[in-house]
Amino acid sequence: MNTYYAANLLIYAGVDIIACLSLNLVFGVSGIVNFSFIVFQAVGAYTTAVLSLPPDSTSGYDFQHYIGGFNLPFPIPWIGGALAGGLLAIPVGFVVLRKLRSDYQAIALLVMSVIANTVITNADKFLNGAAGLALVPQPLSTQVDPSTDAYYYLYVGITAVAVVIVLIVANRIVNSPYGRSLRAMRERELAATAIGKNPVAMKMTVFIVGGVIAGLSGAILVGFIALWAPSVWLYPETIILFAAVIVGGKGNNIGAILGALLVPVGFEEVTRFIPPIGPVGLIPALQWVAIGLLIIGFLWFRPDGVRPESRRVFEGGPAREVR
């Protein structure tokens, strides 16, 4: 029981860290307000699920209807999930990132998130509608029994490896000349364009990379909880991750990790111990209110977050105040 609780906590922490690193690349570093982040995670999770599930005509699985059902062994569904996140980013980016002003991008993505959920909920033959997919085979479950402690250790280990890989990739991007261009574009797009950077191409690239990482986070999550339904990827879930990146400090990976540990992990764990008082649903509702307050409070009092992005100054330049 305790091993399960600890493993559960660590795996959720890993998934949230990966999600926040992705959101930080897209939102914190590049300034794209991706209000449909959770859709990319969901696409990764659904893809992983249908790649690892057997066809829906198999006995034991025939209570649900879904497309595909390929019954593929472990690493392939995860890779598929990550790729699906990246593939989704291409058409979405094509619509949203080319011409629109930044605040229009935000509302278009928000609306997309709500609509995608509506469509999947209503299309019940596609991914089993509102009920969602259940009994998703867990990775390596044929080699190790998923109900044992050993399996939990294994899963925590795999998650940790994924976190490290994503962190290395994100760090490489943030510190590369490309990352520098992204920050320049975030600060002043016109100036970045004037020195020969193509903002649309840069945004598309980072949006696709962010989509791949988000898809991977969904793959890891669905592999552990073994089910996925529209109710777990409603648009407010994206707002929690935005709260995390804003609280942690947007624009730097350490801040994103800190935010992931403080908001989705820390905050939800603390409020879990509040006794259930008042009418049913009061505490969850107040949790959401607190998330809203957290965002507004931080944007007002400490817009750079707990760990602000370090200001990068060119050493050889004349000493003067930047901005």
Partner: protein
């Protein structure tokens, strides 16, 4: 053929509801430069105010006026205590969008413990059936169309023929210049939030009258339809929002009649995507989605 005419009848009602909401939303954006994502939640809160008054046995139309007052005061306070301070602090457009989304989340979840999860509906909200050939509408639906026409005329008169309307247009065009010409832009903006809030409150009530039942979750779908109409017409353009409402209203009702009513918002979203790809500045735009973020 009758199917299409019947859908057109519902389209008339739908476009009236959307027009009231979208004009309010687009005026907030055009004049105060604020994409207020909490608009749908203010609509649904106002609809609940009308619901409690209606449940006490009072006519729904009196309830609508109370909802208008509630929406006006609520929007005014929201701007005074949240949006305006952030704008004065120099928060970017993106920052303001995030703030308004956080506000929207808070309103919905503060409302939830008060009104509960279940769908509710107004009493005596339908009225008698009237037949106009194949088009069948209830008296209340006719009244909604009347209210919308009246409000659109009032807004038109306000913007075109009054000093206040002139001041609003000046503030929308260039707030600094307007202030330098002696227009009290702060007070103009306060009035804009009161007026648009009242529109928002009435829109919430008529939207709730027009649907059989409503719940908190409807806030998001209200917002999507309003955004689609406002963006289609050219954000910040009251007349554009009216045109957008007409198109979205008719198209969504036709799609509901011929395809499936579950996908009304999906169709609205499809129109939104098409507009964003083909004509991001909207149908009538002087300013629109194309300009660089300030």
């Amino acid at each position: 053929m009758d199917l299409y005419l019947e859908a057109l009848g519902f389209g008339l009602v739908s476009m009236s509801v959307i027009a009231i909401a979208a004009v309010g939303f687009t005026m907030q954006f055009g004049i105060t430069n604020m994409i207020n994502l909490a608009y749908g939640e203010v609509m649904i809160s106002s609809a609940y105010v009308a619901y409690y008054i209606n449940r006490a046995g009072i006519s729904i139309w009196i309830g609508m006026l109370a909802a208008a007052v509630f929406g006006a005061v609520f929007s005014f306070l929201l701007n005074r205590f949240v949006y305006a301070p952030f704008q004065a602090k120099g928060t970017s457009l993106i920052g303001m969008v995030i703030v308004s989304l956080a506000v929207s989340l808070m309103i919905a979840n503060l409302l939830l413990p008060i009104v509960g999860y279940y769908s509710v509906s107004y009493e005596n909200a339908t009225g008698d059936l009237l037949h106009f050939g194949p088009i069948i509408l209830t008296t209340n639906q006719i009244a909604i169309i009347g209210v919308a026409l009246l409000l659109m005329l009032v807004i038109h008169g306000l913007l075109r023929y009054t000093r206040l309307g002139k001041a609003m247009r000046a503030t929308a065009a260039n707030p600094t210049l307007a202030r330098n010409c002696g227009i009290p832009t702060r007070r103009v903006i306060d009035v804009v939030w009161l007026i648009t809030g009242a529109l928002c409150g009435m829109a919430g009530t008529v939207a709730a009258i027009n649907s059989d039942s409503f719940a908190i979750a409807n806030g998001a779908s209200f917002l999507i339809t309003v955004l689609a109409a406002a963006v289609l017409g050219g954000a910040g353009q009251p007349y554009g929002a009216m045109i957008g409402a007409v198109l979205i209203g008719v198209i969504t009702e036709l799609s509901a009649a011929t395809w499936s009513p579950q996908y009304k918002e999906v169709v609205a979203f499809g129109i939104l995507v098409l507009v964003m790809v083909l004509r991001p500045q909207g149908l009538l735009a002087k300013r629109g989605a194309l300009a660089a973020a300030g």
